[in-house]
């Protein structure tokens, strides 16, 4: 086996760390429960959000054009990118036109998806991630393991070590000291960067404005000090009306971290005098997903990460085990659209417990989509064993003795079945075979 099971087993080998990771994320899930429970009619709010998003996606083309018109009227420059390459080239051109070789960036999963950092670095541009978690990841030459808490897989000690190495300070695991050191370190970049890039949490068609939610204030400090603000957003992030924000801002931070609202919720509508805002609308496969009846609802995602915190698979095997930009349950249904061979193990990396769908603030049918993916991913090539088994299932006499036959023949099973059995029984016993089946018991007893 390869793919997720292999990466998962690697993570599981360090049991104390697995337990720590599981507990940490469960704690976030509990914080979410508490915050959600304090909102009257939370379930109605989820339903409302789901409906708004489904309507918004159904009218996406119309909404995008309305947004473009209103944003341009506000003085925002709009760019359209059909894929990652176009997106990256737009950013590069903007930087080159300004003659800069350095750019600061706040958190954006879209730029991770487009692999913007390595692209710019190859073109001689230094990118400085200013979100603390992202900065740590960047130093360690890793990718985020979680979409909201990118360095959640690292322990304080490991973070202290990389700080010592990169900033020449004594090793420490004092969070306050490390954060203060990071502030001082980043300040210089904030003051001198002429271009700042951010992601976008929501854009609003009727106002032509967009919203960026952060906890560290790094996005705001970056864009207010720079001359040019580049904002990158996936086209699915668009909401039709300003009033919709009242629904989504109440759901986002509570679902993500259990906060009532992020520390900074910044609305950008028009550039300051003498400055520029460029917004890049990125498709990169989204409209293709929108055209798939079984899968389009995944585009409702507001990237809160709640499905990751609740998922036992994510909690116990870590975000990197998915080996995709967006990990966890939502990543497992999105990633195969981009490369169904590379990500074929992801829809199977689930017990189909459904906790993801129940926690999702926009009610995406994640577990259903995982199941549907499984049906598609097995389509290539026939599976003789599965089809034969399917036929046997309706044959009563054969079926009745399957368990007994199976138990007696354990040692003489064909290769595949033997491998399955070995996997199941390595750390688990099979149940003991009783002296008679229910069917036999019933035959003997039901007349009495």
């Amino acid at each position: 086996m390869n793919g997720h099971p292999e990466a998962a087993n690697h993570f599981l080998r360090d049991e104390p760390r697995t337990n720590w990771h599981d507990e940490t994320l469960w704690w976030v899930r509990k914080k979410r429960d508490k915050a959600a429970g304090e909102v009257k009619d939370w379930e109605r709010l989820r339903e409302l959000a789901s409906q708004i998003k489904e309507k918004a996606l159904s009218d996406l083309a119309k909404n995008l054009l309305e947004f473009e018109k209103n944003a341009q009227a506000n003085g925002i420059k709009i760019h359209w990118a059909c894929d990652a390459e176009e997106h990256n080239n737009i950013v590069l051109t903007l930087l080159q036109k300004r003659g800069v070789s350095q750019m600061i960036k706040s958190k954006s999963m879209l730029t991770e998806e487009c692999a913007l950092n390595p692209f710019l670095e190859n073109h001689g541009i230094e990118v400085i991630d200013t979100d603390l978690g992202e900065r740590i990841i960047q130093w360690m030459e890793q990718t985020p393991s979680h979409i909201v808490m990118p360095a959640i897989h690292l322990k304080k000690k490991e973070i202290g070590k990389i700080f010592a190495e990169k900033l020449d300070i004594p090793e420490s695991d004092d969070a306050q000291l490390l954060t203060e050191t990071a502030r001082q370190h980043l300040r210089g970049y904030f003051l001198h960067s002429r271009v700042a890039l951010t992601g976008v949490n929501f854009a609003v068609a009727d106002s032509g404005a967009f919203v960026v939610c952060t906890n560290e204030g790094n996005a705001d400090m970056g864009v207010h000090l720079a001359d040019t603000h580049i904002a990158c957003m996936g086209i699915e992030k668009l909401l039709p009306k300003t009033e919709n924000l009242g629904v989504f801002l109440r759901l986002l931070a509570r679902s993500a971290t259990g906060q009532p609202i992020t520390a900074y919720t910044s609305h950008f509508k028009k550039p300051e005098k003498g400055k520029e805002i460029h917004l890049i609308l990125v498709d990169n496969g989204r409209s293709a997903i929108l055209g798939k009846p079984d899968f389009w609802k995944a585009l409702k995602c507001i990237r809160c990460g709640a499905c990751m915190n609740t998922c036992p698979v994510f909690r116990k095997t870590g975000g990197h085990s998915y080996e995709s930009t967006i990990p966890g349950p939502i990543g497992a249904i999105l990633s195969p659209h981009y490369d169904s061979e590379k990500y074929k193990s992801l829809p199977f990396a689930s017990s189909l417990c459904g906790s993801c769908s129940a926690v999702c603030p926009v009610k995406i049918d994640i577990d259903k989509q995982l199941y549907t993916w499984r049906q598609l991913l097995t389509k290539d090539g026939s599976n003789l064993m599965a089809s034969q088994l399917g036929k046997l299932l309706r044959r009563n006499n054969w079926f009745d003795n399957l368990g007994t036959i199976f138990s007696k023949l354990q040692k003489r099973l064909p290769g595949v079945a033997k491998r399955f059995l070995k996997a199941y029984t390595a750390e688990r016993n099979l149940p003991e075979v009783p002296h008679e089946t229910f069917k036999r018991w019933y035959k003997k007893n039901h007349e009495q």
Binding site: R374, G390, R394, A423, P434, T437, F438, Y442
Partner: protein, 238 residues
């Protein structure tokens, strides 16, 4: 009212006592119960592995076998959820197929059950029962707490229900998941068992013996002091 009794394959083969308890329980409550002899597996293991397309035969067979029964009852939430969905999917048919706790709560006269069960019991909420058939509401939802199993087991004399730290985290069985991701599946199971042990439970019960089979396998391997029982075996001890 004549009930059709559906005894899923692994219960028939490995846990006949669950089928027997279910049958006796329904009889004791005064129902006419029949077990159609021709029944087989619902096909769920194949479908979860990605081969739903090969289960049409099994689903049609099920429909045929249980055609004479107004209500079908089964002691397995997972199989009930699956067969209900598949009957709609393949033959566009809605049937009244009820998981046992669902049936008991809507039809049963449980006061007749007065056998004591003097043990500390922890409930393993099966995910397909809880989030699929809504035999309770999961902790993710901000609703008043409700659970069929709590409702049923609180009638049992001398039985003490224990509180778990994580009341509805998945046990890690997941059918083929238990093979494809065997190490992870066992880790999830072990973590659930630790929660039961810490809570002081002596018995783990559930609507689904498939989840319990997986946990029992770990209990046996690691020689833990816990036993598993389908709730029908608690309501109707042999």
């Amino acid at each position: 009212m004549k009930l059709g009794l559906f005894i899923p394959c692994y219960i028939n083969q490995y846990y006949p006592s669950v089928g027997i308890a279910t049958y006796k329980l329904l009889k004791k409550l005064g129902y006419e119960v029949e077990y159609p002899n021709e029944q087989t597996c619902c096909g769920q293991p194949l479908a979860n592995a990605g081969y739903e397309r090969y289960t049409k035969d099994a689903v049609e067979h099920f429909n045929h076998v249980f055609d004479n029964y107004e209500i079908v009852v089964a002691p397995s939430a997972s199989c009930v959820l699956f067969i209900k969905e598949q009957l709609e999917h393949f033959i566009n048919k809605k049937r009244r197929i009820m998981e046992l706790s669902e049936f008991l709560i809507s039809h049963g006269e449980l006061k007749q059950l007065n056998k004591p069960f003097p043990k500390k019991v922890g409930i393993l909420q099966s995910c397909h029962g809880l989030r699929g058939l809504q035999l309770g509401n999961p902790s993710e939802l901000m609703e008043n707490r409700r659970s069929n199993l709590i409702e049923l087991l609180q009638h049992v004399k001398d039985l003490e229900l224990v509180e778990l730290n994580r009341p509805d985290d998945c046990c890690g069985f997941g059918g083929t998941f238990s093979i494809k991701e065997a190490d992870l599946s066992v880790k999830m199971g072990q973590d659930r068992l630790d929660d039961f042990i810490k809570s002081g439970a002596e018995v783990v019960t559930s609507t689904d013996i498939s989840c319990l089979m997986h946990l029992e396998g770990i209990i046996m391997k690691r020689k833990l002091r816990l036993e598993v029982k389908h709730f029908a075996e608690i309501l109707m001890p042999s």
